[in-house]
Symmetry: C2
Subunit: 338 residues, 2 copies
């Protein structure tokens, strides 16, 4: 913020007119004479005049800045969401301020504090894994700052939510394996204290039941990272349990499982089929390419931002909406035999 910027006052002085006239001329106000407008605009161009956003924000009580609180940027899914947010924000003249919670409750609260200082017009939040208390979010409601949750929402808070249909995604993935003739389907499951892990597990269970496949509890294993997949897949192999496929809660876990399977001499998908979740970039890079469930991160970001803008600009209050985005099964080599 360099103060040397040309202001309306500077232009007014040089032209020997008042700042208000300059202001009006710049906005093409009908009252102002063509001649004055010409002079003002010429000088503004010459000096490369730029309205001072801060002054405008102060006057309009609107900053056109929105805040985003996100667990971790370094995940393909979340950075896709950010891209979507940015896309829509750009189109509508909003700037985006980002703060990472790094899955840490205290940092999430701190980020909220920062955003409560009055700089933002609204906020987009995906809740950290750790968070169990939601007071910090309630404060936005109290201040009348619109809040839209994405991906990881909070049931207890009445606000707009844009989420993924995790249940259906897992259902599709599991049913796909069944259709491919698999019956002994392992599920590497996410943490069951989180909706996302629950829904994906439930989708798996429902698909199994609906298709009359026997559910073997021993094939449902808590495992949701690349590293733990390296360990758990080996343990699974060593256990001697029969299985013909693995459906994992995310793509990293699938990549880990694939690696161990290949190293143990299994052919994918002939011996063991693998299906991930997320459609991360990695799913194309592994060999064979990974069948996975696409989560529309970019679209989610766009929808969340659109909804937030709607809230910011709405004249009369409207009830909160929850939008559930459909996932899409992307069949690739790691599961396709027929």
């Amino acid at each position: 913020m360099k103060s040397s910027q040309v202001t309306i006052k500077d232009i007014a002085r040089e032209l020997g007119i008042s700042p208000s006239t300059v202001s009006r001329a710049l906005k093409d106000h009908p009252d102002i004479s063509q001649e004055t407008k010409r002079l003002v605009n010429e000088l503004a161009a010459k000096y490369n005049y730029k309205p001072n956003i801060i002054a405008l924000s102060l006057r309009n009580q609107r900053s056109n800045v929105i805040g985003v609180i996100i667990p971790e940027i370094v995940h393909y899914f979340f950075s896709s969401v950010i891209s979507g947010i940015e896309e829509v924000a750009n189109e509508h003249g909003y700037s985006v301020m980002i703060s990472q919670s790094v899955e840490d409750y205290n940092r999430e609260v701190a980020a909220c504090d920062t955003f409560l200082n009055g700089i933002i017009d609204g906020i987009l939040v995906s809740v950290s894994k750790e968070t169990a208390n939601y007071d910090h979010f309630h404060r936005f409601e109290e201040e009348g700052i619109p809040i839209v949750f994405f991906d990881r929402a909070v049931d207890e808070i009445l606000a707009d939510k844009i989420i993924i249909d995790d249940f259906d995604g897992a259902y599709q993935a599991t049913e796909h394996l069944i259709v491919q003739g698999r019956r002994k389907i392992v599920h590497f499951a996410g943490p069951q204290n989180r909706l996302i892990g629950q829904n994906r597990l439930n989708g798996y269970l429902k698909a199994m039941r609906d298709n009359g496949v026997v559910i073997d509890e021993r094939l449902i294993i808590p495992c949701d990272t690349f590293q733990s997949a390296l360990v758990e897949t080996q343990k699974l192999i060593d256990s001697g349990l029969k299985f013909d496929s693995i459906f994992t809660v995310n793509d990293f876990t699938a990549a880990g499982a694939m690696k161990v399977l290949l190293r143990n001499g299994y052919k994918i998908p002939t011996d063991i089929a693998v299906v991930g979740f997320g459609d991360d970039q990695t799913s194309l890079m592994v060999e064979p390419t990974l069948t996975t469930v696409n989560q529309p991160g970019f679209e989610m970001g766009k929808k969340a931002m659109e909804q937030l803008i709607r809230r910011i600009t709405q004249s009369k209050p409207e009830p909160p909406v929850t939008e559930i985005l459909k996932t899409q099964l992307i069949v690739r080599e790691s599961s396709r035999v027929k």
Copy 2:
């Protein structure tokens, strides 16, 4: 930005004192009596008073906001950099505004325009691959807004730069291959209009020469994405040219090359060794694991932000500095035979 926020004026009115007294009391100014301070602070707490950042920015001519222009957030390296930036920004009370160029010159210019509206105290930039004209960056200099380049810098602009020792990283990678007995080393090179691409190529060339390895121009191929690697690697194989290893400008390109090699029946590393650059998450997930060059992204973000803060807060101008961060060769399975 809800206008219903409590202001200093509100507190002053309620206490029957002047706004300036309230302001001073809140900052624990020595002139103010303990009693007044107590009253003011109590009321401020009761009404949950928060100073209006916008008003402060206008008054102080400082927003404590910095801008970041980055090619793509959805790259592990860049999102690591952002995390580093955020880390330091948080510590020092700065907020971070992010804009992606998506490797598009026009969007980069647009992002600069947005940031030139006076909201930011300084800017961090990593230049898009496309960019060949640098006028949009010069404008920050003209406005007196400090600019620090990271990773992809611009030689033509006199500014602080935090970059990676790409030359040395490429040198190490190439020499490693030579030590492993490779001689016909392919280089999938980055764009030569960017320093980064040049330096990595030059490191490769120097290592070849220093070790008396004949350089075959046909083995130096412009190719820097996963997709193009799929194409170029196949073309390379079909060309009948002899080669025993590939050193790629980044890990995605390496992943693409590996995939095609494997599909053509080559053993990695026995037949062909592969070395990437970046130490992306992917490098652990591919099979075999990928030898690569670690780039300290998080550290780069921290250093860049620290340097920017130094510029913003410096009293007298100082000459620009360039900091070159060391890379580290991470030897994994894709290249190790001995």
